[in-house]
């Protein structure tokens, strides 16, 4: 009886030309942005290698800077100076940073931990030049002169928040059951934290430390008025000290071609040293030398 109801047909309208074109255009734009971003990356690396390789020689790696106009000379003192400053920074920053990381993961699952977490994230965003001012006030003003120590303090301040946060994350990845197993056989809490939790996460923690190290290794701004730079050899930590990044800056803004050449060489050496340091520690971790005895 009654009128036959028609079964509704699911009909999909064809996608209009406009929508198809938009889709293709946006995909094209997206690919284009990737290419545009990759161009400077490759340009920087290619230039660095091309300009740097030609200027690196034995003299560059073994001599101190020559006065303007005299050819030759090198950045040996700056390479060593950078290592001294970074050594001081690591000595101060790594234990404190790991300690803060342990606090965050093992003792800081509460409001106090949240405060420390937020503060370390904020510290991470403080411009490095401002950290330089602080280190100037803390160390240089007291000592009355620029020093490797002041530079180390500045870089340590920059390392601590990064190390704290990555250490925290790595420790949190360690399963709770491992800690409980240790407690269960009567191991005290501090011993569990150090010998079980921290040791289990060693490779991750060390990777985090190296990340922080690599980040500050090329820093220039906080060293400008802390380490200051030096044209000669200096082995005292309370005297102005040369650093590779400072030397690159000075040479780059100078009007001399010879110095420009050396700036490129310095930049290449700097990046190679950073990569080498990170790789060396990673390999050491993999082969168990640093994985705890």
């Amino acid at each position: 009886m009654g009128p036959r109801t028609s079964i509704p047909q699911a009909s999909i309208p064809p996608i209009s030309l406009r929508r198809r074109v938009t889709d293709h255009v946006m995909t094209g734009i997206s690919v284009l942005t990737v290419l545009l971003v990759l161009v400077p990356l490759f340009a920087i690396f290619a230039y660095l290698v091309y300009k740097g390789i030609g200027s690196i020689n034995i003299a560059f790696l073994t001599q101190t800077p020559k006065p303007v106009g005299e050819p030759g000379g090198g950045m040996a003192n700056a390479i060593v100076g950078s290592m001294v400053i970074l050594g001081i920074a690591s000595l101060l920053g790594v234990p404190l940073g790991i300690g803060a990381g342990i606090f965050l993961s093992e003792y800081g699952r509460n409001r106090y931990g949240d405060i420390v977490r937020f503060v370390s994230d904020v510290l991470n965003g403080v411009p490095s030049i401002v950290i330089g001012i602080v280190a100037y006030g803390l160390v240089v003003m007291r000592q009355k002169h620029f020093s490797a120590l002041a530079g180390g303090v500045a870089l340590a301040i920059m390392m601590i928040p990064t190390i704290a946060r990555t250490t925290e994350q790595m420790l949190l990845l360690v399963p709770q059951a491992i800690r409980e197993a240790a407690y269960g056989i009567g191991v005290s809490r501090w011993r569990t934290t150090l010998s079980i939790t921290l040791r289990t996460a060693t490779s991750g923690v060390i990777t985090g430390v190296m990340l922080a190290f690599a980040r500050v290794a090329g820093e220039t701004a906080p060293l400008l008025f802390t380490a200051f730079g030096n044209q000669y050899w200096n082995w005292k930590t309370d005297q102005p000290t040369a650093a590779l990044s400072l030397q690159i800056f000075t040479y780059a803004i100078s009007p001399f071609d010879e110095w420009h050449r050396q700036a490129w060489a310095g930049a290449l050496v700097l990046i190679v040293l950073i990569v080498a340091a990170v790789a060396a520690v990673r390999i050491a971790v993999r082969h168990g030398t640093l994985a705890g005895a």
């Binding site: 904020v122 994350q169 990340l211 800056f249």
Partner: protein, 344 residues
């Protein structure tokens, strides 16, 4: 800096030695394993030592604020708020106004954002939504490699490669086509505000794109499927299903990039021209808050001069802290509740 590169650590918890195992078994059968009370003192000492380390991080921030505030007292008393809107910077007559530096910082950072935001969004969208899986890892790695190059090396490259290109090709072109706006007029030196903006953009692209990528990955998959099921094209799916949901996080990523641009020192100092003037044209040299610190701090002879510089540092510090805190809250609002992946 994103910590994505961190590998999951290997769980190599120490195995008890074989003899110890054997010893444990024997002892367990004869007498209770634990005897006497475990001393609680070492535990307490260790716990407090770690808390002290945590406290040190907070103290560090306090120390920074204290140093900056004390150091800038002299200048604050001499100029008050006037310091921030006076444009006279003259060490000889001991007159200090920070306006040219504030202007330079804002303009160069905004310029960087204008260039970097579309590019980083394009890269992030490509990597998360369009890219073949094989290419994804390589692309994320290469863009993050950009973040690992020291700022001074960017500056070096900018002086010898970017600036000549700007001077010879880009600036004449801009002057010819857009010169009437007044933004692109004057002699094309190469060095100036435009160069600073471009190099800053190159430096903040990895930050914005890697955080945007993280934000886009946490957009639930069913949002994409729903959009596609409604007959959306891929771009419509990205626009309506993905980008709209990730809006707050993307804005957060952009602000985080802004925070980095505001405080960036070396590369900018090397190409901006370092002249405390406020010019309409982007070809003209400028000066930023960070660069004036880099250039003049060691040469500041008078107490007031030094104090004025420290006050600029204080202002820079506060601005970046506010910007960063804001950005973090916005990124958290999107990624919260997701498996913890750090956004640093």
């Amino acid at each position: 800096m994103s910590n994505q590169a961190l590998p999951r650590p290997r769980f190599n918890a120490p195995e008890p030695e074989r003899e110890q195992k054997a010893a444990l078994k024997v002892e367990a059968s004869t007498k209770p394993l634990l005897q006497g009370k475990v001393s609680e003192i070492p535990d307490a000492v260790f716990g407090w030592a770690m808390r002290l380390c945590g406290l040190a991080v907070v103290a560090l921030l306090g120390l920074i604020v204290y140093q900056l505030v004390v150091g800038s007292q002299l200048s604050w008393h001499a100029f008050g708020w006037k310091f921030f809107w006076q444009s006279d910077w003259n060490p000889v007559s001991d007159q200090y106004g920070a306006l040219p530096f504030i202007y330079g910082t804002i303009v160069s950072s905004l310029l960087a954002l204008i260039i970097a935001v579309p590019l980083s969004l394009g890269v992030a969208v490509f990597i998360t939504e369009m890219c073949p899986t094989g290419l994804r890892g390589i692309l994320s790695f290469t863009t993050e490699l950009l973040a690992a190059i020291p700022s001074v090396v960017y500056g070096l490259w900018a002086i010898f490669v970017l600036v000549p290109i700007l001077r010879q090709y880009v600036q004449p072109f801009l002057a010819k086509t857009l010169g009437w706006t007044g933004l692109f007029s004057g002699p094309p030196y190469g060095i100036g505000m435009l160069a600073a903006g471009v190099i800053l953009a190159i430096m903040i692209i990895p930050i914005i794109s890697s955080i945007t990528r993280e934000v886009l990955t946490v957009v639930p998959q069913h949002q994409r499927e729903a959009a596609l099921a409604l007959g959306a094209t891929r771009w419509e799916m990205i626009r309506m299903g993905v980008l709209r949901n990730a809006r707050a996080g993307i804005v957060g990523a952009i602000i985080l990039g802004l925070g980095r641009a505001l405080g960036e020192t070396m590369a900018v100092t090397m190409v901006i021209g370092n002249r405390p003037e406020i010019a309409k044209s982007l070809f003209a040299p400028g000066y930023t808050m960070a660069s004036v610190l880099a250039n003049e701090f060691t040469e500041a002879t008078g107490d007031l001069y030094l104090s004025a510089l420290i006050e600029i540092g204080l202002a820079l510090f506060f601005v970046t802290i506010v910007v960063n805190a804001l950005a973090r809250l916005m990124v958290w609002s999107v990624t919260r509740g997701q498996p913890s992946r750090s956004i640093a």
